[in-house]
């Protein structure tokens, strides 16, 4: 590789990396947690209300729920008990992405009970932080920000590979642990980057599409489709062959619908039935579910007539999609990790955390490259303002994100039933911790704040298993032990790791070289110099 090429791409890598590093850190850390959204939701949710109603009571439940809440008739879902940790229930949203939708179950005495399904919405919060990197306000704005950051991230990936190529054979999978800490961080950064490169390419490109698809479609509409894209989209809609039919009609029972799905595709495992126009001749039902043999978006669906049970469309049905639809579903699936079951979920979880490490170590390397070295007997060297600010920002943003998510998860159980708007509280706790950590890091400086915030992060994360422990030991508190103990175990392991990092950091502050933004000795010297003036 020519040296001029390497030099140019080093600059490209540095700039794209430093601009996007912290945004991507948040997106990756929160993204790793989204792999276990459902267990997180279950960790907070109180024990589900009792209902023993089976699928044979599906029509009874639907009719009862609609009699109580006619407004739900426009669109609702019948969610099956299997794999959802809840009994058979009907649920409907007041708006798209409703954090706390309504739900109805059939009580043992045959009456219909209506409650708010999940006032916490923690899974949704983690997902929103993932998609917007925590940029508050409009979801479109936040996703555009992560979309643009992801575009730069593609360039950072390519440039990173280009500058590593000349030394790839020599350096590959070599981790030089030793006195040269910067060398070790660089080795670690390179190993993680190269080993998880395919994952990162997939994530970067798909995140660009998720973030900027509106702008992409608008451009294609104008330039390629001569402003007639709407007709192209409508021509591909699952509903393209349907005619409106508002006349009242009898509905097939849900059990019968599922029997027809099973006959159509035995390998498909249904999870819910989403109805539209229930009770009319044109009523539709999307039977959502999974088929682990195929790459699908989070779930696929079979579109059927709810009145006749006829199959209307299979463009989103795993194994029955057309060429283009299945290709696009594969792109979604590779981003969501919605294939291969638990192994892939855990793999994506750890790859996500490794990605967060990649961006964190990238920022550390940026700081270390700008370090002014102390000469022997040369006296105190002041590090540049930009490295001190970048160090503080890196510590504050990344630890603030981790601590904020941990604490808002733990707080969910304590606040449940105690506050009116639990979802709002979840947002409030997250942003309070996140912004507090950022302010703290800039006020205290990177060195001290790093240790203090690591302890705070360890404590916030340990609060999750501690809450479960207290719930088990002191039933008088009114807490409860959920069936997702995996959340507690992962949080415990995380807390221990953060505590270990805090100790290692404290050691570096005391004993590390003074000519570093991470040195406490320098801080003390500066303070001493300050008081002498």
């Amino acid at each position: 590789m020519r040296t001029d090429v390497v030099r140019v791409y080093k600059s490209v890598h540095t700039w794209t990396g430093i601009v996007t590093g912290l945004i991507l850190f948040i997106a990756f850390y929160a993204g790793a947690l989204t792999m276990f959204k459902e267990p997180l939701d279950r960790w907070i949710a109180p024990p589900a209300p009792v209902s023993t109603a089976g699928l044979e009571k599906g029509s009874e439940l639907i009719d009862g729920a609609l009699a109580l809440r006619p407004e739900a008739a426009t669109g609702f879902s019948l969610v099956l008990a299997e794999g959802n940790g809840r009994p058979l229930h009907v649920t409907w949203e007041r708006m798209r992405n409703d954090p706390d939708p309504w739900s109805a179950i059939l009580a043992p005495d045959g009456s219909v009970e209506v409650t708010q399904l999940d006032p916490a919405g923690i899974g949704l919060l983690v997902d929103i932080v993932h998609r917007t990197a925590g940029v508050p306000g409009d979801l479109d704005l936040g996703t555009a920000v992560t979309g643009i950051a992801s575009a730069l991230y593609v360039v950072a990936l390519v440039s990173g590979v280009i500058i590593l190529l000349p030394s790839l054979v020599k350096d590959f999978l070599v981790l030089r642990v030793g006195r040269n800490l910067k060398r070790m961080w660089l080795d670690a950064h390179n190993v993680v980057g190269i080993v998880s490169l395919p994952f990162h390419i997939v994530m970067a490109l798909s995140a660009v599409v998720f973030g900027l698809h509106d702008q992409f479609y608008d451009t294609l509409n104008e330039v390629v489709y001569e402003g007639r894209m709407r007709t192209v989209i409508e021509g591909s809609s699952p509903m393209r062959t349907l005619k409106r039919d508002p006349r009242p009609a009898a509905m097939l029972p849900p059990a019968e619908i599922l029997a027809r799905v099973k006959a159509f595709e035995p390998g498909f495992a249904p999870a819910s039935l989403q109805y539209q126009g229930y009770g009319t001749g044109g009523a539709l039902v999307r039977v959502w579910g999974a088929d682990p043999r195929y790459l699908v978006r989070r779930e696929g669906f079979l579109l059927m007539s709810a009145a006749t049970g006829a199959v209307v469309d299979t463009e989103y049905m795993p194994g029955h999609q057309g060429t283009w639809s299945s290709a696009v579903s594969a792109f979604f699936s590779l981003h969501f990790g919605s294939f291969g079951g638990g192994t892939v979920r855990w793999g994506y979880f750890f790859l996500g955390l490794a990605g967060a490490f990649l961006f964190y170590s990238g920022n550390l390397l940026w700081i270390e490259s700008r370090r002014k070295t102390e000469r022997r007997h040369g006296g105190l060297v002041a590090q540049s303002r930009s490295t001190a600010l970048m160090a503080a920002g890196t510590v504050g943003v990344s630890l603030g994100c981790i601590a904020g998510l941990s604490l808002t998860i733990a707080a969910g159980k304590w606040l449940h039933g105690a506050v009116e708007d639990l979802n709002g509280w979840h947002h409030g706790v997250y942003y309070a911790v996140f912004l507090g950590a950022c302010v703290w890091a800039f006020v205290r400086g990177a060195a001290r704040a790093g240790v203090e915030l690591l302890w705070a992060t360890a404590a916030a994360t340990a609060a999750i298993p501690a809450t479960t422990l207290l719930a088990g030991l002191l039933p008088g508190l009114g807490l409860w032990v959920s069936d997702s103990l995996g959340v507690d175990l992962v949080a415990l392991a995380g807390a221990l790791v953060f505590a270990w990092m805090a100790r290692a950091n404290a050691r570096r502050i005391r004993q590390g070289p003074a000519d570093s933004v991470w040195s406490g000795r320098r801080l003390r010297l500066e303070e001493a110099a300050g008081t002498a003036d």
Binding site: S11, A151, V224, V328, S369
Partner: protein, 114 residues
């Protein structure tokens, strides 16, 4: 690979003994803008040619989604590699020429396959 990553200031490439005489110029602004703007317009045109003339034609079921997905890898591939042009002027010349060719192809395809 040199052991420092400190080449953060966009200075013109210094001419050193190890450097080839025809070393590429950084030309940060012109190359970045050329890659981002002309790379995007080129990606749109290529996606459009594929939409009209590619398998299934423009109306194939859900193909419009695939066409949209194509933009990201083409666009960002161009942005990533546009710094290999010897100069910003080269970048604009070549990408500009490619754009002319691709849009000409798009108009022909649209006329033929409409």
């Amino acid at each position: 690979m040199p052991d420092d990553l400190s080449s953060h200031t966009p200075t013109p490439a210094p001419v050193s003994a190890s450097e080839p005489a025809d070393a590429i110029r950084p030309d940060w602004w012109s190359k970045s803008l050329g890659g981002v703007i002309l790379g995007f317009t080129l990606a749109v045109a290529l996606s459009g040619v594929f939409a009209w003339a590619g398998p299934g034609g423009a109306q194939a079921l859900n193909k419009y989604q695939f066409n949209m997905w194509m933009l990201a890898p083409i666009w960002l591939g161009i942005v990533s590699f546009c710094f290999l042009f010897r100069s910003g002027r080269d970048c604009w010349t070549w990408l500009g020429g490619a754009n002319l060719a691709a849009y000409a192809a798009l108009y022909v395809c649209r006329a033929l396959f409409r």
